[in-house]
Amino acid sequence: MELFGVLVPTKEKLIATVTDIRKGKGGLPLYASLLGMVVGFYAIAAIFIQGHAHTINTNNLVPWGLQITTYIYFVLISTGCTFVNFFGYIFFPQQYKPFASRVIFLGIMTAAAAFFSLATEMGRIDRMYNFILSPNPSSPMFWMGVWYTCYFIAIVMEYINIQTNKHSNKVMWGAFFIAVITHSTLGSLLGAVSSRAYFYSALLPIYFLFIAFLTGGALTAIVAAITVRQQKMDAAYHLEPFVKFLRIGLGLALLVGFWRTAIGLAGHVDGSEVFALTAANSIIFGLGVALIVPFLMLRMSQSAGWLAFTGLFIMVTQLKTRNDLVVGGFKVPLFRVYDMPEVVHYTPSVYEILVLVASISLVSVLYIVCEKAGLFEIADSKGVH
């Protein structure tokens, strides 16, 4: 199997693109993302060199913060890409096909970006080998590791298939199911935590799947909208599946989000006061701004530009929603003593924010470069002859 021209752009095109970029013809988004990558990687280096004490704002009250948010955010997007690919092929084969390689490429990139963030979060990343040497089958996190590996292999295979025009339904179905398993496992990672009423819920694995579909849909919608414009394709025809996906995604997220909040508010167990504490935010922002507003936005127009904007709106609001979910579990200290606050507030450090920037930039730089180097046209062109 060829590497250049299949998995990565051809050498000539890559060199040409790099030369263009050097000459300043890369376009603003690319340079911005490159800058983001540089500072982001500086931050990541700083985290490893200086250690968490000097770089990270999480603490005993908030053991997980923005890095875990970022991680969850990106893996869910990745899953979403797999879902979009799957449903695209199944329900809208013609309309969807031109985007397939882009979508799966993004799926791989976002999964990689997620691990970037996770790696900076671990206290002792150098000991990750213990996942193999000393596994714990009862840990959702262990299974997440296992399924993740499978998932990664599956989407890479899917990608190769797409790029080599040997699309196989078996692999696609496989990737879909593995994605479902992997990301519901991720949901269980929080959902199974009985000590935190805010997390503890059978809804959470499902919630994660729906959110994955929504955020994956949003990112791919942006990419599709841009592609449609650049390639001067028939926007209405080609974007239809994405609009549908987004609508379904928003609906599903609203459904599960509403019930999680409603059931949470009805709870009287230790820690369920977080639902009440955060009710205004969950209802107004989490359900209203983040889900109902984009739904209405989609009714206003379905032009490529507007769709891209709506997609971006969803991406941004969902990032905050993810953070609210992760941090929300720690709002009320489990054992409040001494000078501990009654309600815990956590603000990520600059380094944590830069890890997020690094992850976003990584995805966008690689995507833009590969796009410019014609990686995603390979499949199409190969399909022609």
Binding site: Y338, D339, P341, E342
Partner: protein, 732 residues
């Protein structure tokens, strides 16, 4: 359940194994694995004693790599019995505080607005010696004064005596225990000691007024009272606030502040009138019973209810309970006793109450301590005779110890004779003495101010020369003698080398003594030799003391009154003086009387204060292990009252007192069910104003900033500080 803690057995349990103190001997060798084998091969265990407060519990430092890595209690110590309190366990936070004073400093700026110059020890001591000589020439040696608190103070006292000065004072008298000591002394001819001679663990009934044990974390005393309670003792706590110990009490009497005397007098009356007193005991040992009886007739329970807000039937019940359990009753004497100005008299009322119950010298009441001590260093030249100057404390006929009060006044007025130089050893006078403006006035009037401290405390800013003492973990110090039922001698010895250029007091005083031409008074080679010689003179095995940290000499005399050992009272009459002729002669009430104290004006609260279990005054407010748990104080306000005022829990407010003094900084509101609604409460020690104390600076509000008014106890010169009223200002 009977709980005894014998030291011998505890020693096994606490795992404190010095060379001499054997670890659990019954433990098979093979269990002595781990720590020793892997990481802590060279772990040495050095016993010494704690100075995070003045209980001075025995502790054991575990030393490795020339660093103290942890501390444990010394099971041999009578003061701690192998336990350390919340503060004592934080020794490393004191030793390794990066904010410590590191070098001698000379102020080249103005007093109170220092510009520091780092000096060598020679420079600093030369300057002090030169100024001291100047003062001596101009005003006489009696124009110097020493304020001290803590074990090392003894060396400074020695230095001053050798120099020819007799003015050594401690805030722990006129700002603390003085009235209590005098109240008991006037009654029994003896005081209650420190550690107090409470026989709590044997008590059947205990009454505490204030005395918030648990927060007041005096180690063995807390253990004793908890053991007593576990053994079935009943407890009544009188306190406007539900203190920790009040939460363990059978009865909590949330008294109206400043009215304790009414309650005490009513109790005395009930106990007399209902015949609950120990007739035989009173007959045998006391004098003035009839006068007492006549004098308390007016103090009926109903009257006391109107003063104290405690229901009269509760007052009666408690009196009967005391009577029923007599003589195994301990009505605590208190410790911090400078409350409202008639404090010696209040303490006398407590003393009288105990006498009526027959608890002095009785099991479960007050025991008689072991006698004895350790002689001074042999062969020292006699101190020079004191100059003939008027007595500083003449105004306070029963000031058994020099008061800070009159030193302060003499510094300001020059009367009855001038005071021109202060040595301040281990006292944070800015926070300790009432009325800061007055203290500043005194300081501004001096020719020399020397502070010997371990931290850049608030007082440092007012010193001309700052001498960095090394901490208690790094030095030899004076011997510590504890009078329990047995006599305890404990040793402080260095566990590691002093950090930076800090030095122990024995060394600083010796060097300064040499510069003053007083070398003859400092014949010891070093701290160790000083101690060894004294021990030798006292028949104490110094090597054993070094090894074990503590030597306990069992006392053969009985701790309680028996037929063979009748009590002796050091009063003029040789009896318990229920009626005090001594007081009468000096124009004071021979039997305590009730005085009404001012109550807060509308919109104000009485400002009360006390101890945080995790801190000792400002002494520990920079200790990182302790600030990690508690870094600021809070303003306790009755929850209902607070809500009426629209206050929220955790909100920050400022405070202004009756004189319009606004305390710098802000304090967190704590709405609580544990307070009456006419007073607010805060922990003393916080609200430090010193940039150098990076953790303590500006955390919370200082009670001392709001104590602009104080009432002097005319009997012994104590300064009562609980008569200040504050208003809460929102929006800090």
């Amino acid at each position: 359940m009977t709980i005894k803690f014998s030291r011998r057995t505890f020693l096994k349990a606490a795992g404190a194994a010095t060379a001499g103190i054997t670890a659990a001997t019954t433990v098979p060798k093979k269990f002595l694995s781990w720590a020793e084998e892997e990481g802590q091969k060279d772990l040495k265990q050095i016993p010494t004693f704690c100075e995070l407060c003045f209980w001075n519990c025995g502790l054991i430092a575990k030393v490795e790599n020339k660093k103290v890595v942890k501390v444990d209690g010394n099971p041999l110590s009578l003061r701690g019995r192998g336990r350390l309190c919340g503060r004592g366990n934080a020794a490393l936070g004191a030793l390794y505080d990066p904010d410590r004073l590191k070098f001698p400093l000379i102020n080249i700026g103005k007093r109170g607005e220092p510009v520091w110059k780092r000096a060598t020890w020679d420079e600093a001591l030369d300057l002090i010696a030169q100024k001291m000589q100047g003062i001596k020439q101009k005003y006489g040696a009696e124009s110097m004064a020493l304020f001290s608190h803590g074990t090392g103070g003894a060396f400074w006292k020695h230095l001053l005596k050798a120099y020819g000065c007799s003015n050594y004072t401690a805030p722990s008298f006129a700002q603390c225990r003085g009235p209590r000591d005098m109240g008991f002394f006037l009654t029994y001819g003896a005081d209650v000691g420190s550690p107090e001679y409470y026989d709590f663990s044997k008590s059947k009934y205990i009454v505490l007024l204030g005395s918030h044990l648990g927060e007041n974390a005096h180690n063995s005393q807390v253990q004793d009272i908890m053991n007593g309670l576990a053994d079935g003792a009943k407890l009544t706590v009188v306190d406007p606030r539900l203190s920790n110990i009040a939460s363990k009490a059978d009865r909590w009497l949330p008294i109206k502040p400043a009215s304790d005397m009414a309650l005490l007098l009513a109790w005395i009356r009930i106990i007399i009138e209902e015949g609950l007193y120990d007739k035989e005991y009173i007959e045998k040992y006391a004098s003035g019973f009839d006068e007492l009886r006549a004098a308390v007739q007016q103090y009926t329970p109903q009257w006391a209810e109107s003063e104290t807000t405690i229901p009269s039937d509760t007052i009666v019940k408690v009196a009967r309970e005391m009577g029923r359990n007599a003589p195994h009753v301990c009505v605590g004497a208190g410790r911090y006793s400078v409350w409202y100005g008639d404090d010696t008299q209040r303490s006398r009322a407590i003393a009288i109450l105990n006498a009526l119950l027959g608890s002095w010298g009785r099991e479960g009441g007050y025991f008689f301590p072991a006698k004895g001590g350790v002689p001074e260093y042999p062969g020292l030249p006699p101190y020079p005779p004191h100059e003939d100057v008027p007595k500083l404390d003449a105004a306070y006929p029963f000031a058994a110890l020099q008061t800070t009060t009159s030193i302060k006044h003499a510094s300001i007025t020059g009367l009855p004779h001038p005071i021109k130089g202060w040595f301040i050893y281990g006292c944070n006078l800015m926070k300790t003495l009432p009325d800061k403006q007055e203290t500043i006035k005194a300081l501004q009037n001096l020719d020399l101010v020397v502070a010997i401290d371990v931290l850049p405390a608030d007082i440092i800013a007012w010193a001309d020369v700052v001498l960095p003492e090394c901490t208690y973990m790094e030095r030899y110090d004076n011997l510590n003698i504890g009078k329990f039922k047995d006599l305890e001698i404990s040793l402080r010895q260095p566990t590691v080398e002093p950090l930076w250029e800090s030095k122990p007091s024995w060394m600083i005083t010796k060097e300064l003594g040499n510069k003053l031409g007083l070398a003859a008074y400092f014949p010891w080679k070093d701290g160790e030799e000083y101690l060894a010689k004294r021990c030798e003179a006292g028949g104490i095995d110094f090597a054993e003391l070094k090894r074990n940290g503590v030597i306990v000499k069992t006392d053969k005399s009985a701790p309680y009154i028996t037929a063979e050992s009748p009590p002796e009272f050091g009063t003029p009459s040789g009896k318990i003086e229920l009626y005090s002729k001594q007081l009468e002669e000096k124009g004071f009430d021979p039997v305590p009387k009730y005085t009404k104290h001012p109550q807060p004006p509308a919109g104000h609260f009485r400002l009360l204060f006390g101890r945080a279990s995790l801190h000792t005054f400002s002494r520990t407010t920079n200790n990182f292990m302790l600030t990690d748990l508690q870094k600021e104080n809070a303003l306790w306000i009755n929850a209902k009252k607070g809500k009426e005022l629209g206050l929220k829990d955790g909100e920050y407010v400022s405070l202004v007192n009756q004189d319009g003094v606004m305390a710098p900084g802000r304090i967190k509101v704590k709405l609580t069910q544990r307070m009456r609604d006419d007073a607010v409460y805060m922990y003393h020690g916080f609200g430090v104003h010193s940039k150098g104390m990076t953790r303590a600076d500006n955390q919370g509000i200082a009670d001392d900033d709001l104590i602009s008014k104080y009432v002097i106890d005319p009997i012994m010169g104590g300064t009562a500080m609980r008569g200040n009223f504050v208003k809460i200002v929102k929006g800090a």
